[in-house]
């Protein structure tokens, strides 16, 4: 068994809003191993992005705050670091790619200056060496005509190319962990496939662990080693990717899998949508937050909140009824 690189323990990130306290991340624990691809899956508002921002130390305070819990990277608890110490880690040990490549690049700086920025901050490379490395990086991410591109500005690049630049920037200091937060959601499918393959390749080459945050179950199926399913601020099921799809044990995972139309299914193959709506985080139902939408819910589920517990080796589920839950039940 490889060593775990990232260890998130009982993380709680809360936001004070006019509508009340939002427990965006509420007692979340998981581990990412060295070099593995781990996927955090869930629908909008489930807390997956807030989890990523908590790891990056980018939670805006106020209104947000990491209330309790630990985030250990290589044994160092990131939540205890000062602003300056965290800055030294961001970009060098952990890097992140966001959904919108247009807004995450600076429109008035050339690609070259943005690419070499992290190198200037985190390494003692000379300006010349940093620029050489920038060229190397942009070649690595498969941008043709690299020398010209380096002198250009973000608006002169297509969406896919901008995301390639983001990957080059993120990989510039060979981080231990790369977080991709819906990094290909805004792209067309043919470009999405290019970018994901690229991300997988570059992280594999450098032994970087990849944390994919997505709502797309197809992407998870293709790339992830392990998966955590999140709903209303809590992890509901964690396990091996293959196992999650063949033997889901949480009713929400089952619901998601039965909700997605598949390319390889027959026309009109019945979908089994999850009834009801995603709950309002300021006003969560009592007990298990999924209980009002759950087919398996028993009395206990409306009163008590199930904890994430190991049900079989490598598999954790937060459901009282997990033994009777399954795809064909």
């Amino acid at each position: 068994m490889t060593e775990s690189l990232l260890k998130v323990e009982n993380l709680r990130t809360h936001f004070r809003t006019d509508g009340g306290l939002v427990k965006a991340v509420d007692d979340v624990s998981f581990e990412v191993q060295q070099g593995e691809t781990f996927a955090l899956v869930g629908e909008s508002g489930c807390g997956k992005s807030v989890t990523a921002l908590s790891i990056m130390g980018l939670i805006p305070n106020p209104p947000g705050e990491i209330v309790s819990g630990k985030i250990e990277l290589d044994g160092v608890d990131l939540t205890q670091l000062s602003f300056g110490e965290m800055r030294a880690i961001r970009g060098s040990k952990i890097a992140m790619i966001f959904q919108e490549p247009m807004t995450s690049l600076n429109p008035v700086l050339t690609i070259e200056s943005q690419l070499s920025e992290a190198l200037k901050i985190h390494t003692d490379l000379s300006k010349k060496a940093a620029n050489d490395r920038a060229l190397e990086l942009i070649n690595m991410v498969g941008i043709a005509d690299a020398r010209t591109r380096l002198k250009q500005y973000p608006h002169q690049l297509s969406g896919g190319q901008r995301q390639r630049v983001m990957i080059a920037m993120a990989m510039s200091c060979t981080p231990k962990l790369l977080i991709a937060d819906e990094a290909t959601t805004a792209l067309d499918v043919t470009i999405q496939a290019q970018i994901l393959d690229l991300m997988k390749d570059v992280t594999e080459q450098s032994g970087t662990a990849l944390l994919i945050i997505t709502h797309n179950l197809g992407i998870v199926a293709r790339y992830a080693n392990r998966v955590a399913v999140m709903y209303a601020g809590k992890l509901r099921e964690v396990g091996e990717a293959v196992d999650m799809y063949t033997e889901p044990r949480h009713p929400y995972t089952v619901g998601l899998l039965r909700s997605v139309p598949r390319l390889d299914s027959e026309k009109g193959a019945p979908l089994a949508p999850i009834a009801g709506e995603i709950p309002d985080l300021t006003n969560l139902p009592g007990g298990c937050a999924f209980s009002p939408r759950c087919r398996w819910a028993v009395d206990r589920c409306f009163a008590e909140n199930p904890l994430l517990e190991e049900t079989s080796p490598g598999k954790k589920v937060a459901c009282f009824e997990h033994a009777s839950v399954g795809l064909n039940v």
Partner: protein, 336 residues
């Protein structure tokens, strides 16, 4: 062999589009504007939709699929070609006749946030088409019909007095569908109707479309970029790329055995939510981006990214040819 009719698909087309062209002028200059070029958003598209069938129109952003849908309702002006709705020449209609046509064709938009007037109650939003088209004499009849539509799309009747911001994305899309149904259309043009929704809500809305089609005897033009969703709803599929339909035919055939190199790449790029199946699939990953529609390539529009392009593809525009199973394929290299 042509496409297999499903349910009550009749042989006569409800919509017949021939050589449709929609060009947008590109203007330069701040005060004195001059046209410096044109974007050929839709460039010679032939499509037919039979009564009772669902035609899925797929393509990536910039392929022209939305412009095509809008042109049918004359929300974008056609530059050339013809559109016939139940035999009537749509492009020749004026004034009252055009309004009458809009009664028969409903439209559901992508953005459930932007397509509902925030200052109207949702009841009034659904009632508006009936007022505009003067469908009922008495207001009380409109109210009854609104309530009925609320039931149809699965909204609680008591919600009619509320405003759009009080609803979730999925509920808003239900409101949009109720509005589209209000004038009693036969054809529904759905432009990315579920792409803004979460997976679990998406499935609810798709199931609603499935049910409405049978209950209301509707015909759909379903425009979407999500090929898995299109697979679920469509009898026939047309694949667009840079203003052209590159392949069209029975959905079963196209999904099972795509012929056009773009269709092949597009289908293989969509990951299947099943690791066992997905990790065994052979994939064609395309290189590069779609060229700008301002400056499309000469010859076949797909030639810049095509893995099998030859000399001819850079010179001659491939015309659609009929494949053995009735499909139309616009590619020089596909053996018919």
């Amino acid at each position: 062999m042509s496409s297999t009719p499903v349910g009550s698909v009749s042989a006569t087309p409800i919509l017949e589009v021939n050589q449709l062209k929609v060009y947008f002028p590109v203007k330069r200059g701040l005060i004195i504007q001059r046209t410096v070029g044109e974007v050929k958003a839709v460039d010679g598209v032939d499509l037919q939709i039979k009564h009772g069938e669902t035609l899925g129109l797929v393509g990536e952003s910039g392929s022209g699929k939305t412009t095509f849908g809008r042109a049918i309702l004359r929300l974008n002006d056609a530059t050339g070609g013809s559109i016939r709705y139940q035999g009537e020449d749509v492009l020749a209609l004026r004034g009252r006749a055009m309004r009458k046509l809009r009664r028969k064709i409903g439209m559901v938009f992508q953005d459930p946030y932007g397509s509902l007037n925030p200052r109207m109650t949702v009841g009034n939003i659904v009632a508006e088409p009936m007022l505009v088209h003067k469908i009922f004499e008495q207001r009380s009849m409109i109210k009854d019909r609104v309530m009925e539509l609320f039931d149809t799309v699965g909204l609680n009747r008591s919600m009619a007095k509320r405003y759009p911001h009080e609803f979730s994305g999925g509920q808003r899309q239900r409101i949009g569908i109720a509005r589209a149904l209000a004038s009693g259309p036969q054809l529904l043009i759905c432009d990315e109707p579920v792409s803004a929704l979460d997976v679990s809500i998406q499935a609810q809305i798709i199931s609603l479309f499935d049910r409405l089609k049978i209950e209301q005897n509707l015909t759909y033009l379903f425009i979407a970029h999500d090929l898995s969703v299109v697979r679920h709803v469509s009898d026939r599929v047309a694949v667009m790329y840079l203003g052209h339909v590159v392949e069209q035919g029975a959905a079963d055939a196209i999904y099972r055995d795509p012929q056009h190199p773009y269709t092949k790449a597009l289908l293989s790029a969509v990951p299947i939510p099943d690791p066992v199946v997905e990790r065994r699939r052979e994939r064609v990953v395309l290189k590069g981006d779609m060229p700008s529609p301002l400056n499309p390539p000469k010859g076949c529009v797909f030639n810049t990214r095509c893995p099998i392009a030859e000399e001819r593809c850079f010179v001659e525009i491939p015309l659609p040819r009929t494949f053995s199973d009735g499909r139309q394929i616009a590619c020089h290299k596909v053996v018919i």
